[in-house]
Symmetry: C2
Subunit: 138 residues, 2 copies
Amino acid sequence: MTAPNAFPVLSSKSELEEGTVFAPRFDTNGLITCVTIDAHTNQLLMVAYMNAEALRKTLDTGTVWYWSRSRQELWHKGATSGQIQTLVEMRTDCDQDALELRVTVGGDGGCCHTGRLSCFYRSVQLSDGTLKLVQNSK
Amino acid sequence: MTAPNAFPVLSSKSELEEGTVFAPRFDTNGLITCVTIDAHTNQLLMVAYMNAEALRKTLDTGTVWYWSRSRQELWHKGATSGQIQTLVEMRTDCDQDALELRVTVGGDGGCCHTGRLSCFYRSVQLSDGTLKLVQNSK
């Protein structure tokens, strides 16, 4: 018997890389890494994780669900903030252990809980021999 | 005594999110997630991981080093293929547990071991009630 959210599992490297079967590879915690990108601007918005249930809900609803590692619960992104992420395209990488989510964003168009548009709002810079974080335009 | 590759550790959420100290948060395996993007085209190239040593080598050399989870060794990206990734900008996210690497790529400009420019060369599509992978233009 398979779990209701189960996805196919492939062990062949060539099937994983060249086949047409979507067989997402979850890690030992049951999670897969997601890179979320604004489909219009191509801006990197955030990195988060899905378990099989979150992935299934995302595919079923067309809006993005993650697994919150800090809260240990399913997380319908934007449910409280209005920053709902509508899935435009989902891509996977060669060995199917990461997902690229191309989305449009509701509400104010942002994603970060600090109020910035993107979570990647700081750059690492070397200044007087010390690494510092400097706010970038995001 | 600190390890030679050690980075600062911050426990305060406000310092992590709003401070100027770069304090990358490695997971229980000692790794941090890296999202690598072509600085010219803004294209998502790959997702990979660094340990503290790989991160230090990247900052010291200006070219990208990862930790290969499959081979369990340091990996100077492009050392054999010529697809060296030169770091243009490194960004971190709000809670400093992910890095955005904006790079220019040597050799043929690609990154995927399958020969494609990007590792994200397939889209997930629903066809006749079944999820299928379809090659995209990457």
